[in-house]
Amino acid sequence: MPDYETFEHDVLVIGAGGAGLRAAIEASAAGVRVGLVCKSLLGKAHTVMAEGGIAAALANVDERDNWKVHFADTMRGGQYVNQWRMAELHAKEAPDRVRELEAWGAVFDRTKDGRILQRHFGGHKYPRLAHVGDRTGLEMIRTLQDHGVHQGIDVHMEHTILSLLKDGERVVGAFGYERERGRFKVFRAKAIVLATGGIGRAYKITSNSWEYTGDGHALAYDAGAELIDMEFVQFHPTGMVWPPSVMGILVTEGVRGEGGVLANKDGKRFMFDSIPENYRAQTADNEEEGWRYCQGHKDARRPPELLTRDHVSRCIVREIKEGRGSPHGGVYLDISWIKQKMPNAAEHIKRKLPSMYHQFKQLADIDITEQPMEVGPTTHYIMGGVRVDPDTQMSRVPGLFAAGECAAGINGANRLGGNSLSDLLVFGKRAGEFAAKFARENSLGKIDNDRVDAVAREAVTPFESRDRGSENPYAIQKDLQETMQNLVGIVRNESEMRDALERIGSFKARAEKTAVTGNREYNPGWHTALDLKNLLIVSEAITRAALERKESRGAQFREDYPDKDERFGKVNTMISKSPSHSMQVRLEPLPEMPDYLRQIIEEMK
C-alpha cells in the first residue's frame, strides 16, 4: 500500500459546524485527544447562516415557559413521530447550553433587565429564541470556534472524508483527502462523531452551500448504520425568489416573528384561511391580535404566519399554483407595513433584521423597510438522518456517533425554527461526552489497508477516465438536483417518485464515468465528482422513504395520500444497507412514550 500520512486521535469529529465544534469541545474537556475535520475553513460551516435564534425555555421574556411547554411544542411540530427521549433531553438541557455560550463570550441581545432576550418563532408557544439580531448562527459558531481553539483540538481544515474504516463491527478510523493538495490521509480514532449537516445540495432550490452533500448520512449508511425519517425534508417557506441568481437564499423566520406578514398578489393575508385544527386554539383569528402577539402581549395568540414551516410552505405553494402569486413566482412577505403601527419603524427593522435589510438591498435592490419582499419555499433542512441512541448519540455501529442535522430523532416530521441550533448544542455535547467515554474504554483498532487502497483507487478514477467516458460531474449534479426538485419536492406522488428512482439509477451509472481535468490540487471538478456518490445515496434514501410513507404528515405531502394515516403515526421509516449492498427500507415502530410525557402532551393540547 502507498504510504499515506496517518493521524491518531482518541475522538475524531467530522464536521465543524455547531454540533461538531460542541462535540469536539466536550470530548476535549473530558481529557481525550480530539481531531476535527472540516471541508471548509473553520467557522464557515452552515451554522453561520442560521439567523433567527436558539430555542431554549429560559423563560426570560415569558415566565410561563418551561421545558414541558418546549417539549410539547416540539412533539406537536414533529407530528408525534419524534423520538420522545431526544425531545425531552433537548427541552430540558437547551437552557444550560445557551447560558454556557454566554460564559464562553457570546453576546446575546438583552432584555430591559439585562438578561438574554428571547423572540417569537413559528410553533413555539412563548418567545423562546435567544438571538443576536438576525445573525445568531454567526455568534454561535464564532463563540464555539474561539473557545475551541484554546482547548488543544487538532483542526484539519479543508479535508473531505471519503470512507469510514472498520475493524470487525467497530469503526476505527476514516480515510479522506486534503482538498488543497489532493493528498490522501488516514485518521485513526477510537470513536468518531459525524456532524456533517444536511443534504440541501440534492435539490435545485436550496439555502444550503456546496458542502451539504449528505456526507455523514452516506458514510454512516455505508458503514452499516441505519437512517430514519429520510422522507422528511424541510422546505423553508421563505427563500428569495428574485433575481434568479439568489433563488433559494434564506429569509429568516425572524421577519415574521417581528411582525412580517404573508400576502398574495391581491394583498390578502391567506394564512388566516388555513389554520389547521390542532393549532386553532393557539392561533390568532384576526390581524390585530397577531400584531399584539408580536409586540409581546401575553393575552394574544400568534399570527398564522407563525404556524409550522411545513404548513406555511404548502400554503404558499397553493397560492402560487392557483395563480395568486407574485410576479416572479412567489408570494409577498411584508415587514414595511409595521410603520402604520410604530414610529421609527424603518430604524427598528434595520436594528432587528440587519442582515435581511442588507441582503435585499444589495442583491435584489429592495428596501425592506419600504417594500414587500418576494419569497417562496427553499430546501433548508433534513429531519431524517442517522438513527442514534437518544442519550449517547451512538449509532448501531460501535464507536460511531452522530449529532446535529445528520442525526435524526428530535424533530420527527417537521422541525420548529430555532430547534436546530439548540439541537446542535445539546446533542453535540452529548455525542462528545459519550464518544470520549467510548474512546477511554477502547483501544485503537486495526486499519484495513486493502480497504484504504480500494477507496483511494476509486477516488482517482475520474482522472483516468478517457477510456471510461467523459461525463461532466457538474452536469450530473445539476440533473440530479432538477430531478429531486421536480419529482421528490414539496408535493409528491408515487409515479413521479418511481420515475425519480429510475433516474437516480441512471445518474449512478453516469457518475461512474465522470472525467475531470487538471491535477489533484484544489480541483473543484474532482471534488464535485467525488461528492456525487453521497448525494446519490441520500437522494435514493429520501425517495424510498417517501414512497414507503403512504400518507401526508409534517414535511411529507403526498397528493395520492393527502391525509394523515394513524398507522403511520406509530412508525419511522428506516433505511439500511442489505448484505447484497442494495438499499432496503422498512417501517420501525416508535418507542413507547412513558406516561409522564404523554400527560404533558395532553395537558398542553
Binding site: 453576546v107 473557545h147 484554546h150 441582503q359 490540487e521
Partner: protein, 258 residues
C-alpha cells in the same frame, strides 16, 4: 443574453497569469455566479472558495477589478461590463491555487490572543446582567465574518508583509471585542503594544472602507484601543479614571440586579 468577459487569475504559488473567459449575464447576477458558470462549462478545475453565497460566511474574498470584495455580494450590474472584469486572489496572503489563498496565518494569530475570561456570574443561577447599550459596540465588532478583506487591504500586511509583527485590523477588532466586553476580566494591552504591533496602524482607514459588514474598524475599534494602550503606559490619571468607571459600571449592574 448579454455576454461579459472575465480575466481570471489562474496559477499556483510558482507562477500564474490572467486568462480570458466569458459568461452569460442574467439579471441580478453576482461575480460568484459568473465564476460558477465558468467552472461548470469551461474551467472545471478553477479553484475558488465559497459557502453561503449571501455575504454571511466570508469565504469568497477576492480582488474584483482590483478592489477587495466578496464575490457573492458584488453585482455584475455595478461593474463596467464593456471592459473585461478582472478577478484575482487576495494579495496579502500566499496563493494556493487560482483564487484560493493560504489564510492559515490568520488562524494562528487568533490562537495567540488571550481568550475571553468572564467575571463571576452576577446572579445565583450562574447568569450575568448586561445592558443593551453596553454591548452595542461589542456586537458591532462581533458581526465580523472573517473574510480577511481588511487584512488584504492593510498596507502593513499587503505591502510591507509584516505578518510577524502586526496582527492586522481583523484581530485588532477581535481584541477590541474582548477588551470592551462588559464581562471580560483579561488585560491584553501589553501584547497589543508589543507582539501585536498596534502602533504599526497609521489609521488610513482602508480596512473600514472594504469591510462588507460596515464595521467601523478604525473609529470604533482601533483608535479607542490605541488610546487605551497610550493611557495605560503613560497616563496615571487615565488609569484612575478607568478604575472609577469600572466601579460605577459594577454599581449599575448591582442596580439592574435589584
Amino acid at each position: 443574453m448579454a455576454i461579459a468577459t472575465f480575466k481570471i487569475w489562474r496559477g499556483d504559488a510558482k507562477a500564474g497569469e490572467l486568462r480570458d473567459y466569458t459568461a452569460e449575464v442574467a439579471e441580478g447576477m453576482v461575480v460568484l455566479d459568473a465564476v460558477h458558470q465558468i467552472q461548470a462549462t469551461q474551467a472545471p478545475d478553477l479553484a475558488c472558495r465559497w459557502n453561503c453565497k449571501a455575504g454571511k460566511c466570508g469565504s469568497c474574498s477576492a480582488e474584483v477589478n482590483g478592489m477587495p470584495k466578496l464575490m457573492c455580494m458584488t453585482r455584475l450590474s455595478d461593474l463596467p461590463l464593456e471592459k473585461p472584469v478582472t478577478i484575482e486572489p487576495m494579495k496579502a496572503f500566499p496563493v494556493v491555487k487560482d483564487l484560493v489563498t493560504d489564510v492559515s496565518w490568520n488562524f494562528r494569530v487568533k490562537k495567540k490572543i488571550k481568550p475571553f475570561k468572564p467575571r463571576p456570574p452576577d446572579a445565583p443561577d450562574g447568569t450575568w446582567r448586561m445592558r443593551q447599550e453596553d454591548i452595542d459596540r461589542v456586537q458591532e465588532f462581533r458581526k465580523c465574518i472573517e473574510c480577511f478583506l481588511c487584512q488584504d487591504v492593510c498596507h502593513v500586511l499587503r505591502d510591507h508583509q509584516m505578518h510577524d509583527k502586526f496582527i492586522g485590523p481583523r484581530f485588532l477588532i477581535h481584541v477590541a471585542a474582548l477588551e470592551m466586553h462588559p464581562l471580560d476580566t483579561q488585560d491584553r494591552l501589553e501584547e497589543l503594544r508589543n507582539t501585536q504591533g498596534i502602533g504599526y496602524c497609521n489609521i488610513t482607514k482602508c480596512c473600514t472602507k472594504v469591510c462588507p459588514e460596515s464595521i467601523q474598524i478604525t473609529d470604533s475599534g482601533i483608535i479607542p484601543l490605541k488610546e487605551r494602550v497610550v493611557d495605560d503606559f503613560y497616563d496615571p490619571f487615565g488609569w484612575i479614571w478607568r478604575w472609577l468607571k469600572k466601579r460605577s459600571d459594577r454599581q449599575k449592574v448591582e442596580a439592574l440586579k435589584r
